[in-house]
């Protein structure tokens, strides 16, 4: 499911490039009034989208370990000193 979401969402740099192009077009001043308004609207929408990408998203730090079946599993990562996951001998 996450894979499908990733396919629909375009990459940050793609959106940013599009916004830069829109702004450049508007600044050129060659657009008809309707086109200029449309470009502006699109620009606002893109800007909002980009802002969301930057400010939303929860930070998550996970440890990937193989279970007995050889599959990778995630578990929360504890900082050293909090004593959670690590064994003393420094292996891993």
């Amino acid at each position: 499911m996450a894979k499908r979401e990733a396919k629909k969402e375009e990459r940050f740099e793609v959106l940013l490039t599009r916004l830069e192009e829109l702004v450049a077009k508007l600044e050129d001043g060659d657009l008809e009034l309707e086109e200029a308004l449309a470009a502006f609207e699109q620009g606002v929408a893109l800007s909002r989208q980009l802002n969301q990408r930057l400010t939303q998203a929860q930070e998550k730090v996970e440890l990937l370990l193989k279970n007995s079946r050889g599959e990778l599993e995630t578990s929360p990562l504890a900082e050293p000193g909090t004593g959670a996951k690590e064994d003393g001998d420094g292996s891993f």
Binding site: L33, L54, K60
Partner: protein
């Protein structure tokens, strides 16, 4: 052991007498049995590779030396080519090459020992992989500008990982970070690191970037990142890889094959992602440019529109103006048309007259044609006019006829006249016995009044009927 035909001295003593081959063979047996396979440490001296394909060298230390050979079929499996002066560790069998009476070490395995040897192995692997194109710039994949899922392959002991995470968190919280713990030195390290890269590429969805690295250490400590196994695993990763091994000055083979090299894990964090504030500021800048550009566009449009509208009047006044103009125009137009018609008529006639008066013979035909066309045209016009008039006249005549008393008669009414010719309008104008004349629509009758059925005033008049 054979007794040979001996000299008198030999016969007298009766000891064992060997031939050279026998003796050499004995020495060989002894060495192979008593010493056999050994590990030997020493310095390589004067390696030679003749046409036979076998590598001959001497291993020595400060006091002694021993001849060694690596046969062609073993040489193939050796990733490391010993060079003069390099310290090595060799494993092989001790034997005697009988034709020359030399003992030698037949080497099965050779590996570099000490920094010098490691540096050599480094150079050799670097050359080999570079020749394969694994370091080429156009192989390197671009890193996503704002990755959301990042994997880190490193040891969880040591400060490197935590420094990395701290910097990421400070710059741009909101990333999803996967930590794949591995050994970063020792024999098992290269295998674990390459397995990690394989596993991460197989994840669904895979991370957008993989960071592979460790904290600082000696050349031996970092050695895992100079192995072919790790180098190929990095080169084969579809996910872009950032290598972050050791200190500023260390360059490992992993660094050459990675898509981006960071000098330390902390540097990797900085290369990986720009601080969020920078992005937000850039967006802010773009947004204000957007608004300004539109504002400027609108202002210029407004100015143009205002300029145009100044020249434009209130629509209602415009319509009035137009009406006034056209009203006069219509009259003038009508007159103009009539005048033009009359004019053209006159002119055509005049022209026709002139023509018939003069013209040379040659042009006559043409001109006559034109003339007759014009005349026909005129005639048609006139005919048309006449037709019109006739039609009007006809219509008028019909109406007139409809109003005539005679028409009334055709509808069934009759006109009665008494003897003195006066039209009888009222019953009082006649008496029974009078003779009257009745005019019908068609025909006349002489009639006798028999009786008055309904009375009326004596003389017609305008009384009620």
């Amino acid at each position: 052991m054979e007794r040979t035909a001996a000299s008198p001295e030999a016969q007298r003593a009766s000891p064992m007498v060997f031939t050279v081959s026998q003796l050499t063979g004995r020495i060989r047996d002894l060495l192979e049995r008593e010493v056999g396979s050994v590990w030997v440490e020493g310095e390589v001296s004067r390696p030679v590779l003749p046409a036979s394909g076998h590598l001959y060298l001497t291993l020595k230390d400060s006091a002694s030396q021993i001849k060694a050979v690596i046969f062609k079929n073993r040489l193939r499996y050796l990733a490391f080519r010993p060079e003069d002066g390099v310290q090595v560790l060799a494993f092989g069998r001790l034997t005697v090459y009988e034709p020359r009476g030399e003992y030698q070490l037949v080497v099965d395995h050779l590996e570099p020992l000490g920094t010098g040897a490691l540096a050599l192995a480094f150079e050799q692997l670097k050359k080999k992989l570079a020749a394969e194109g694994l370091f080429d710039q156009d192989r390197k994949k671009p890193l996503p500008v704002l990755p959301r899922r990042v994997a880190v392959v490193t040891s969880t002991s040591g400060a490197a990982l935590w420094d990395f995470l701290k910097i990421i968190h400070r710059r741009h919280p909101g990333l999803h970070i996967l930590v794949y713990p591995v050994l970063v030195q020792g024999e098992a390290a290269p295998g674990m690191i390459s397995q990690a890269l394989l596993d991460l590429n197989r994840l669904d969805p895979p991370p957008e970037v993989i960071v592979v690295g460790r904290g600082g250490g000696s050349l031996e400590d970092l050695w895992a990142f100079n192995t072919e196994v790790v180098a190929r695993a990095i080169a084969g990763s579809k996910v872009p890889v950032i290598s972050a091994v050791g200190h500023e000055v260390d360059y490992t083979i992993a660094d050459f094959t990675a898509d981006l090299r960071a000098s330390t894990p902390s540097a990797a964090a900085e290369l990986l992602i720009r601080p969020r504030e920078e992005w937000l500021a850039e967006l802010e800048g773009l947004s204000s440019r957007l608004s300004q550009a539109l504002g400027a566009g609108l202002a210029s449009w407004r100015a143009r529109a205002q300029g145009a509208s100044k020249r434009l009047l209130d629509p209602r006044r415009m319509i009035e103006r137009w009406l006034v103009r056209t009203a006069g125009d219509t009259d003038r137009l009508g007159l103009a048309v009539e005048r033009t018609y009359a004019l053209s008529l006159a002119r055509t006639r005049a022209a026709a007259g002139r023509l018939t008066a003069q013209s040379p013979d040659r042009r006559m035909g043409h001109l006559r044609e034109r003339l007759s066309r014009l005349e026909r045209g005129l005639a048609l016009c006139l005919a048309g006019r006449l037709e019109g008039e006739r039609a009007r006249a006809g219509a008028l005549a019909e109406r007139l006829a409809g109003l005539s008393p005679l028409a009334v008669l055709s509808r069934g009414y009759s006109l009665t006249q008494r003897a003195d010719g006066r039209v009888v309008r009222s019953a009082g104008m006649v008496e029974p016995g009078d003779r009257v004349r009745v005019r019908l629509g068609r025909g006349e009758l002489g009639c006798l009044v028999e009786e008055v059925l309904a009375g009326g005033p004596p003389e017609g008049g305008s009384g009620p009927s």
